[in-house]
Symmetry: C2
Subunit: 331 residues, 2 copies
């Protein structure tokens, strides 16, 4: 069996997760890393070719079947996606939900022109959660799907909110954990299909390291008043030392669930729930991206092209197993 050859584009947390994930796939292999900072990446990576993302002749010489784009949705993917799909099948985790239709349109045009497949916006949300929302709606007409994040006792680390805390004057470092409100989840499970404000579903817990001489009370007040990020939520602020932050609140844990409930037929209660818990959010995203890279190559080989989401993909395409094995083991 010829292995699927993968170009990893970007060497951040997700890119490193993709490399680790590919090492676990018998049917796939990494052929190179494309980066804007070739020299910097070469310092960390010794056994994989590192090439310039702006030199297609360099990365095409590695003969990849697919590029996994590990850049961010704000600054990288809107330009990088349509450019890369000219040359290769692509997979990305574009996660700016409200912009997905526009991104899909841009990627679809570029992918069709190049006769490539571009799997967009996959990971766990958007991605697995999008699939679960679609299935819940198809199987339980009338049920609304609700997404909760940080359902585990530890909660889920929000990178965006942690970054927001670090912009505040007097804050040396910070991490923010999101917690789902258990009573809100119960309401959904019970089929109430409630109307929630954002603050009804989640609370926010901040661990903040102050700079010397900073005014703790003023900073706490500033955090709690930040529009969008913290003002709509019940927010707690804990001041900790850098050592405590580094030892107790490290890593990228995250988790969440999709819950939907309604009734069937004669009014019988019906509820579905998907839950995932990740010790490492970027590694989880990486695993999902890798399975979709397999599907992208298979779909393109079967003659398909254009932008695809998880909603377009026959699930068997994601699996390393043969269809015969799937029928036997998982049906």
């Amino acid at each position: 069996m010829e292995k699927i050859k993968v170009l990893v584009v970007g060497y951040g947390n997700v890119g490193r997760g993709v490399l680790l994930s590919l090492a676990n796939q018998a049917d796939m292999e990494v052929v190179g890393i494309a980066s804007r900072s070739v020299e910097r990446v070469k310092k960390s990576v010794k056994d994989i070719p590192v090439v310039d993302i702006n030199k297609p002749e360099e990365f095409l010489a590695l003969k990849p079947d697919v590029a996994i784009l590990c850049g961010g949705s704000k600054n990288d993917l809107p330009q990088q996606g349509p450019e890369m799909v000219k040359y290769l099948n692509t997979v990305d985790s574009f996660d700016n939900h409200s912009c997905i239709p526009q991104y899909h349109a841009a990627m679809d045009a570029a992918a069709k022109a190049a006769k490539h497949v571009a799997v967009i916006s996959t990971g766990w949300d958007p991605g697995i959660f999008s699939l679960e929302r679609t299935l819940a709606n198809a199987f339980l007409p009338g049920a609304r799907s609700y997404g909760f994040y940080g359902c585990s006792p530890a909660g889920g680390l929000s990178m965006g909110h942690s970054d927001a805390l670090r912009t505040i004057k007097g804050v040396a470092d910070a991490r923010q954990f999101t917690h789902a409100v258990p009573e809100a989840i119960e309401k959904v499970r019970n089929g109430e299909n409630p109307e929630f404000a954002a603050g009804d579903m989640h609370t926010r817990e901040c661990f903040v390291v102050l700079e010397p001489g900073a005014d703790a009370a003023a900073i706490e007040a500033e955090i709690k008043a930040m529009p969008g990020y913290f003002a709509p939520y019940k927010t707690t602020v804990n001041f900790v030392s850098q050592e405590e932050l580094n030892s107790k609140y490290t890593g990228f844990p995250h988790d969440g669930c999709v819950v939907a409930a309604s009734t069937t037929g004669k009014g019988n209660q019906a509820a579905v729930e998907f839950r995932c818990t990740w010790g490492s959010n970027p590694e989880a995203t990486a695993n999902v991206l890798v399975a979709h890279a397999r599907a992208a190559v298979r779909m393109n080989k079967a003659g398909d092209c254009g932008a695809k989401t998880i909603l377009d993909i026959p699930p068997k395409m994601l699996s390393p197993l043969s269809y015969e094995e799937l029928l036997k083991k998982f049906m």
Copy 2:
């Protein structure tokens, strides 16, 4: 928009559930019921044509796009499936897991010869659970998927085990509820990927109505010794009156979960879990069948034919929403 026209084959619990489900679908309508017992069904159904399942000219005159086969896996579907797909696209819930590969082969040959789509073995298990097992394996290499049934406090009603109890001499009526062992679920969630015997995962709770003069102790011993059904499990037997059985243990509640856990990348814990809770097991199966009938018609119209499982179907095909709506609402 032209509605998808559905022939409902069989008028048992699932068939009645399909009729109720179709009433909730804006894009689908029932055109008739096909049955072996036309006169009996006509007594219950006044507003829908009832036709003879053995007279294709009768059911084809109703111009259905798809037949939802609501018969059982043991006595109905092995004959009925390959016969019906000669005339129509079909959907069924064939649930004899170990025979799915053979059933798939028989349906695939018949469906391809007739250029129809046959969606087989769908419902919640096989069906949704098959999909979740496949996704868990694709996204978490190394994780084993475990299915638990009766995770809710009430447990899940097992029709097969209830039937087995009723075959015992001296038993007037009975219902059997399956319970998942919570500690077993926790082991899987923790990533132990344990080896379980059947009795480690589930317990069985029986509610039995005795015939007058029956020997309760002897019957309890006979139940607990039944090979396959009860002997491998911790089984409790409760003797109740017919009135208590009818009032407290009525309906067809069932629930279950698929749990898989492993690690990502550098050894970080990762777990996924899908859970569903149904007030009515046959109505839940019916809802899933109806969504797959939509997909069967769409796939056939797009030129596809042959036997399909949920693993072959792009999820968007199951949804009543347009792709644009799906991108906007569920991605």
